[in-house]
Amino acid sequence: MTTTAEPVRVAVPPSGGLLDRVLKMRELAILAVLVLMLAATQIDNSAFLSQQGIKDLLLNATILVLVAVGEAMVVITRNVDLSVGSVLGITAFAAGDFLQGGGNPLLAVVLAVALGAAFGALNGLLVSIGQVPALVVTLGTLYIIRGVDSIWVGSREITASVLPSGFVDFGHNGLSALPYLAVLAAVVLVAVAYFLRNYRSGREFYALGSSPEAAGLAGVPVRKRILAAYIACGALAGLAGALYLARFGNVDSGTGSGYELTVVSAVVVGGVAFTGGSGSVYGVALGALLLTSINSVLPSIGVSSVWVQAIDGILLLLAIAVDRVLALRVTGVLRKRAAETRSARHG
C-alpha cells in the first residue's frame, strides 16, 4: 500500500532531540554553577570537601531533594502545592510519636508516607474537583495542617534520647562519604524520573501541563492525574518528614514552617517552569543541591549567614530570567527552521 502522492524528499538537518538537548543544557548549566561554587570554596578552605564535608553537603540536600521532586510532579501538571512544609512537620512528629511508643522504625516511615499521601489526596481532591487555583487551596491547607499540627503537638517535642539509637544513627551514618539518606533519596529520584520518562501516566503529567485542552481531547483522565500528582507530592513530603526526624533527631510544632518557599525556589531554579509541561526531576535535584550548598558554602568561606537569604532570592530571579530568554530563543529557532523547511519544500 503506497501513497500515490510522490514523497517530497528534502534533506532536513537532523535536529535530533532538540527538546532533550535544551533540557540537558539547562541541567548542565546548574551542574556547572554548582561545581564552580564548590571548587572555589574548596580552594578557599581546604577542609570543605573533606569526607565529613561531602557527607554533610549530601545530608543537607536529601530532605529538600525529596520534597522538591514531589513538588516538581505537581508543578509539571501546571499546579502548585504550598502545604508541603506543614505536611513535612506533621508527618515528622507522627513518625516520632510512633517511635516514642516503641514502634519499629520501618513502620514509622511507612506511617509518615501514608499520612503525607492522605494530605496529598485532600489537596488533589480540592484542586481537581473545584477546578480552583491550586495556589489558593494549598495556601488554605498550609494553614489548616499547620494549625492541626500545633494543636496536636502543643509544646511536646521529640528529642534524640527517646528515639531508637539505630534510627538516629541511620540518620547520619553512611558508607564513607555517602550517607544512607542520600542513597535513599537518590533511589527515589531515579524511580520518579524513570516513571515520568517511561510510563504513560508519567508522560500524561507533561501532556496535562503542556496543554490541558489537548490532554482532554487525547482522552487523558485529567482529574485522576492531578490527584495522583498531589498524592505523590504528599507521600514524598511524608517520607522527607521521617528522614528529617532521623537526621535532626528533634521535631516540634514549628518544624517545616516556611519550608515551602525554599522548595518552590529549588523547583524553579531546577528548570521546571510554572507554566507546566517542561523540566525534569534531575534538574530539580540539582537545583535543591545548589540551594542547600549555598547554606554550607557561605559559613565556611566566612560570609555571615546574613547573606544567605538575599543570595537565594537573587539566584531564583536569575534562573527564571535565564529560562525565559532561553525559551524565547528556542521558539525563534524552531520557527525559523519550520519556515526554512517549508520554503525549501516548494521553493
Binding site: H172, P299, S305
Partner: protein
C-alpha cells in the same frame, strides 16, 4: 476625537511629587537621633498609687497571665508550669497565652493588648524585643495591671520588676570559665547564638567577650559568633559551617537550649565528637543522651520551673501591694525563700546549676 489613556501616569507622578516635597521640607533641619536622644526612660515605673506595705495579706482570686517568648517551646512550658503550681498554692488563677513564633513581636503586642482588655491582675512576660512591647505594657500598667518581665527583659520603664534567671554577668562569665576548664584554657572557640536581635543573648555575649579579656584566657580566642535563629536546622548547618571554616576549633558555647541541642546532635554524628568541646545553656532532658555518649562534658542552666514560680510570687506580691518594685523592698516566694529587689527593679533567682555526667540524673526538666 483623541482618546488617550494616561492610566496610571498621574498616580506615578503624584507619588514622586509627594516624596520630593517632603524631602525638600526636611532640608531645613529635623528631629535627628542626637537632637532627641534624652535618656530613654530608665527608671522602673513605680507601681501606681499605694506605697509598699510588706505585711499586707496576699490577696487571693487574682489572675496572673504568663506571656512567654514562644508558646510550645519546651523551656517556657516548664517555666510557665512552675508559675502555675506557685499560683495555685496561693489560690490565684493562672493563664498562658503567646505566639507560636519566637520573632513575632506584632503578635506578642496584640496579646498584651488582649490581656489588658481582659483586665488580668498581672502579666509575666518574656519579651521578644526590648521596646516593641513598651506602649502596650505602659497601657496595661496605666490600667492598674502589674507587669513583671522574666527570662528576657524590656526597657526598665516598661515594667515594674524583672526576674532574672541569674545575673547576666554571672551567666556570661561562668559559661566561659566552664569551657576554659574543659579546654584547659587553650584553643579557638566560637559562639552559636539564637536570633541576632535576642536581647538576653547579646548581653551574655557581651560579658563573655569581657571575661575572655582576662589573662587566664589569653590562649583562648573567640573566632566567630554564628546565629542559629533558634531553629534546629539552621543551628545544625551553622555548627557545620563553624567546623569547616575553623578546622582547629576547640570549643563552642551555645547560650540557647535550641542551639546547644542541635550542635550536640551534629557533633555526636560527626568525626568531631569528643575533639570539640560544647557547653552553654541546655535542659537536662535534652542533653542527657549527649552527656552520656561523651559529646558534652558539662553545661549549665537554672531551673526554669523555679524561674516561673519566682515570677508568679513577685507578680502576686506586686498585685497585693506588698511591694512596688522600688530597690530594697523584699517579698517572700514560698519554698524559694525571700528575695530583695535589686537596682533597676531586678530580682535575681540565684546561681545557675552546672550539670555533668555525675548529677544529670537527679534532674527531670
Amino acid at each position: 476625537m483623541t482618546q488617550r489613556i494616561a492610566p496610571a501616569g498621574r498616580l506615578g507622578v503624584a507619588l514622586a511629587v509627594t516624596a520630593t516635597v517632603a524631602l525638600g521640607l526636611s532640608a531645613c533641619g529635623g528631629t535627628t537621633k542626637n537632637s532627641t536622644d534624652k535618656a530613654a526612660s530608665s527608671a522602673p515605673a513605680a507601681a501606681v498609687g499605694s506605697s509598699a506595705d510588706p505585711n499586707a495579706s496576699t490577696k487571693t482570686g487574682l489572675t496572673v497571665a504568663f506571656l512567654p517568648k514562644q508558646v510550645n517551646n519546651p523551656y517556657f512550658t516548664i517555666s510557665d508550669n512552675g508559675g502555675k503550681t506557685a499560683l495555685t498554692t496561693l489560690g490565684e488563677s493562672y493563664k498562658e497565652v503567646g505566639t507560636s513564633s519566637g520573632t513575632d513581636t506584632a503578635g506578642q503586642v496584640s496579646y498584651v493588648n488582649t490581656l489588658t482588655q481582659q483586665k488580668v491582675s498581672a502579666i509575666a512576660v518574656s519579651a521578644q524585643d526590648p521596646a516593641a512591647l513598651c506602649t502596650a505594657l505602659k497601657q496595661a500598667m496605666s490600667n492598674g495591671i502589674k507587669v513583671v518581665t522574666y527570662d528576657s527583659d524590656t526597657d526598665p520603664g516598661c515594667r515594674q520588676l524583672f526576674i532574672s534567671q541569674a545575673s547576666s554577668e554571672a551567666l556570661g562569665r561562668s559559661e566561659v570559665d566552664l569551657l576554659g576548664k574543659q579546654l584547659n584554657y587553650t584553643g579557638d572557640i566560637a559562639i552559636l547564638s539564637a536570633a541576632q536581635t535576642a536581647t538576653n543573648q547579646n548581653t551574655w555575649i557581651g560579658y563573655m567577650k569581657d571575661e575572655l579579656k582576662k589573662p587566664q584566657f589569653a590562649k583562648m580566642k573567640l573566632v566567630k559568633v554564628a546565629y542559629g535563629n533558634d531553629d534546629a536546622q539552621t543551628s545544625f548547618q551553622q555548627t557545620q559551617g563553624l567546623l569547616q571554616q575553623y578546622p582547629n576549633l576547640k570549643g563552642i558555647i551555645s547560650p540557647t537550649t535550641v542551639g546547644i541541642k542541635a550542635a550536640a546532635q551534629y557533633l555526636s554524628g560527626s568525626k568531631y565528637k569528643g575533639a570539640v568541646q560544647l557547653t552553654g545553656l541546655g535542659t537536662p532532658n535534652d542533653m542527657r543522651a549527649y552527656v552520656k555518649n561523651g559529646t558534652v562534658q558539662g553545661f549549665e542552666l537554672w531551673d526554669p520551673a523555679k524561674l516561673g514560680s519566682l515570677a508568679a510570687y513577685a507578680a502576686t506580691a506586686l498585685a497585693s501591694g506588698q511591694i512596688t518594685g522600688a530597690q530594697g523592698q523584699t517579698f517572700k516566694a514560698g519554698s524559694l525563700g525571700t528575695f530583695t529587689v535589686g537596682a533597676q527593679g531586678v530580682v535575681v533567682l540565684g546561681e545557675p546549676t552546672v550539670f555533668t555526667k555525675s548529677n544529670i540524673d537527679q534532674f527531670n526538666f
